[in-house]
Amino acid sequence: MTNFLTLTRMRIQLTLRNKMFLFFSVIMPFGFFFLYAGVFAKGNPVGVRYLLGPIVALTVMGSFWGLSAALVMFREQGILRRFHVTPVTSSDMLASSVVANFVLTLPTIIVEFFFAAALFHVRQFGNLPTTFVLIAFGTMSFASLGLVVASVTNTMQETQVINQLIWLPLIFLSGATIPLAGLPHVVQRVGLFLPATYLVTELQDAIYQSAAIWSRDVLIALASLILWASLTFFLSAQLFRWEPESKIPRRAKLLVAATALPFILLGIWENSSSRTLAKAQAMSDSVNAPATPADRSK
């Protein structure tokens, strides 16, 4: 347990000394923030509040990039083998990536909320406990996704290519960039198979519609994210490699595909019930509708 904590501290320290971190965890998220809040929502507090869901979701999903890919670099450079001769375990190594990620992501999100309040006069942030829990489990599940990619790829280049292939659909088909309600119907149906879609929609639900933590939709999203994170984390611990030259067995890559199972099942169910799509549509309609007396009073 203490090994895991000291490793977490080391990972945080090293990340803060890395210039790439500044770009991915500070410049990029705030870039998105000002683009969404200033341009898409035109600075309108209701619009900014509506778009905070996608903004926070993008920041949360960004966890997928950082520290897990660093593990591949550690392996390639023979750094992991040095840890292997110590009592440090693979779970220590992996869990420290996930937790360090969370610790580094949280301040960015807090600043995003602060900017929304200070610069765009958003006064209502919906249900903060729900938001926090979604952020916590969201960060952990996307960091675990990064870990699983790290565990099946052999070089940093390979990792970056696969990361891009996963990242683009996650941000474009989930409502994180283009609102789900505005996507063509076919794309919406594909989006329903992506974990990102539920993270975006439920964050929006929590911030814009003040959804309670025990509301059915939040619970479904949380349960799916937690199940998915456990599968990916467990698998990356099983496939963990300390040595640069050890290669991944092909059969293992199939196992990785199996971690998508929770969201495949959820996607099938959602496609037949259109629960999430209806909700996304309703939220979109409400923000685009002429201001109601309730809005004016804020």
Binding site: R81, V85, E243
Partner: protein, 306 residues
């Protein structure tokens, strides 16, 4: 036999179709510096990495501090310290941070400050790992191997790729550890390193131990005799010289007479007497004792650094 702290029996390791280790057997006694000497690719690193628990053997029995590295890796890792061959640390980790971080992993610790001082890294305590020179990195690697005050130390090619001066610094460090009666298992392909540092040496070639003993035993056991090379004022006949007492053979090469001596002191006395009688004069004399390199050539027919 004094207490042996490490045993290896019939160790075998393949990588695909390549047999890296083919039935290696040896044991290491408490407090000794044991060397695995052999050319690159002989199976030294594979053997050591199995002992450290980094790799699983295909067959054979291994025991380190009474523990099986495969069955009880967690316990074993508290008892051993290692300086690996191909390894690194994060570029942006500072020297002192590295020592503190690694010592935090263990039940037993040694004071990181003391290690820093001892390995001459005090001035570098706040430097990033990426800014260190090769010699400093290696000194840090050795210091890090000691953070848990281990029972057995593994140094895999500790001076490989370092310039001669830095290499001597590393020798001094190992000699100091030797005086403290630390058990050290080291691999090397440098003859002088094995001769200078190791109490016993296993010569490894093609995954097998082809000779084992103290450097002195190995040299004595080999067929190589001490050579006495002399230059004379007037020419003499090798056939006469080789019949002198204590000399077993003699040949001439460009005016230098190379005498193979069974007992060098006797050979020299009889040579000097012979020259006095002949009225000849000794211009130069050199005594060459056989090295481990000679032993290696005799056993394998190859030089070590081919």
């Amino acid at each position: 036999m004094t207490n042996s702290i490490l045993q290896v029996e019939n160790l075998v390791k393949h990588y695909g179709s390549v047999q890296a280790v083919r039935g290696v057997t040896f044991d290491v006694k408490e407090g000794e510096v044991f060397g695995l000497l052999g050319p690159n690719g002989a199976g030294k690193t594979s053997t050591v990495e199995i002992l450290e628990g980094l790799r699983a053997p295909d067959s054979g029995r291994v025991s380190v501090c009474g523990l099986d590295p495969q069955k009880e890796p967690g316990k074993l890792k508290h008892e051993i310290g290692a300086a690996l061959q191909s390894t690194s640390l994060p570029e942006k980790l500072r020297v002192m941070e590295a020592l503190k971080l690694f010592s935090s992993f263990y039940k037993r610790h040694r004071d990181p400050e003391e290690l820093l001082k001892r390995f001459g890294l005090e001035e570098k305590r706040n430097s990033f790992y990426g800014q260190l020179s090769g010699g400093q990195k290696q000194r840090l690697a050795l210091a890090m191997a000691l953070v848990n005050n281990p029972q057995v130390l593994f140094f895999d090619e500790p001076t490989s790729g370092l310039d001669p001066q830095v290499r001597r610094e590393i020798y001094d460090i190992v000699e100091e550890l030797k005086r403290e009666k630390k058990t050290i298992v080291m691999t090397t392909h440098y003859i002088e390193e094995a001769e200078r540092l190791c109490d016993r040496v296993a010569i490894i070639d093609h995954g097998q131990v082809i000779a084992l003993g103290s450097p002195r035993e190995l040299k004595e056991r080999s067929g190589n005799k001490t050579r006495v090379e002399v230059r004379l004022h007037q020419p003499d006949s090798p056939d006469v010289l080789k019949n002198l007492e204590g000399v077993t053979d003699c040949r001439e090469l460009n005016g230098t007479y190379i005498l193979q001596a069974q007992r060098p002191p006797q050979a020299i006395v009889s040579l000097v007497k012979h020259l006095e009688i002949q009225g000849n004069e000794l211009l130069g004399l050199e005594i060459l004792t056989p090295s481990l390199e000679d032993v290696f050539i005799e056993l394998t027919g190859r030089r070590l650094r081919d």
